[in-house]
Assembly symmetry: C2
Amino acid sequence: MSPTTDRFVPPLIRRLRSTATLSETVVEAIRTLPVSLRSYEPGQEILRDGERPACCLAVVDGWVSRLKFLPGGGRQIIAFHIAGDLPDLQSLHLGVLDHGIAALTPCTVARIPHEALRELSARLPELAAVLWRESMIDAALFRGWLTANGRRSAYGRTAHLLCELSLRQRAVGLSTGRTCPMPLRQTDFADAMGLTSVHIARTLGALRKAGLITLQARTLTIHDWDGLCEAAEFDPAYLHLKSVDR
Amino acid sequence: MSPTTDRFVPPLIRRLRSTATLSETVVEAIRTLPVSLRSYEPGQEILRDGERPACCLAVVDGWVSRLKFLPGGGRQIIAFHIAGDLPDLQSLHLGVLDHGIAALTPCTVARIPHEALRELSARLPELAAVLWRESMIDAALFRGWLTANGRRSAYGRTAHLLCELSLRQRAVGLSTGRTCPMPLRQTDFADAMGLTSVHIARTLGALRKAGLITLQARTLTIHDWDGLCEAAEFDPAYLHLKSVDR
DNA sequence: CGTTTTGTTGAAGTTCCTCAAAGCTTGTGG
DNA sequence: CCACAAGCTTTGAGGAACTTCAACAAAACG
């Protein structure tokens, strides 16, 4: 196996196994995919809104965000992605990208040619099903965010996002215990939840004062998971994880 | 052809053709799908949150909404669906439903067994691709709503939703000219956009006073499409329609 | 034609925003 | 290793957007 494959495959498999059962055949097939790696600096654009990419992306390490810009200058983050995620699987069937993809932290991203994915899926329906499922989970997260942002207060919304990001990292082994990486700036929180960074500061302060979390040095510690879930009205069903142990 | 098929197929084909090119083979294949029709009254539940449906739905006539309820009593509508739409295509690969599906108006819905869809897609990769694409467009709408609700004022948001619903109906031949059906109550607008129905009343009043629309007798008339688009910062790209003529 | 649902309007309250300044981190070059 | 700059976070004060409560008007429905 090439060193590229060795870096690219483990996080992806880990992610796919967190939501579905993979046969060894599929794992072996994924190992044969021809990918190229590239690294990005925070803020750097990976794919531009309106592009017609010929590859799908897989996050190898670091964090990636997907975002839309409004003509009037507004910025909305629509998703955060961690190692193992496939942030633009949809481009396989949609052609034109309807949002941008950018590095949130220093990160490494693999590019998998559409061609290769299509061929392999055609030969291996099980792989096609896994990918389709993965793209459906992507959509489920949008639904989760839509209701979080639509019907929760700033306090509940923030708690909800922290629950989600903590659980997703835990599900792929990027965190254990009560602590996890949390590299988002307050402007990132703000643009994800449709608030201002000033209000995020106050809201995080309130969550801290309530004894639910601490957030410093890009690390989140959840002191009271049940309390945070309650504040968030958090129901992890929309993440479609195989096991939701805590 | 059975009378059931005769009612079910035309709107679906019309919808699929609005976003993709269909071969005659695929159209013929769709005609062979075994479906059953059922009618619902406004507000009636079609599928319940948490269910594991064994069928996909296709809207035959009327409007359907997808929604989530929060423990605290909040209600968020995450999508509106019109004739030809496939409102829970995702259940084909997701198993558990993470939201409810309900009738918005009197409507007729077709049920297509997962089994039948899977078999047919396996035999006809072109059909699988069309369905996958359709489910990706569903996700694209969530992204559109997420940014609309996150980064637009009530005024812009409302304008945006009206633009979308008008254009989607136009794309499948459910409206022509400046007018289209608009059966939503103000509470439906409110629950879709994360606002209160009282504020919707004021916002619709403002759009009316600005000379952009009139909305009465469940009919929307857009007097100034360009003006409405401008107020909405509307870019139809996220609908992924084949032609966006106006 | 009465009853129920839906829409409109007013007044007061809350949440969140804007503007602004100060404190804190993080990173960089000397 | 320190000094400084740049970016990020915190806090305050005032304002705008949206909500709540409430009453009434207008459709829709049987």
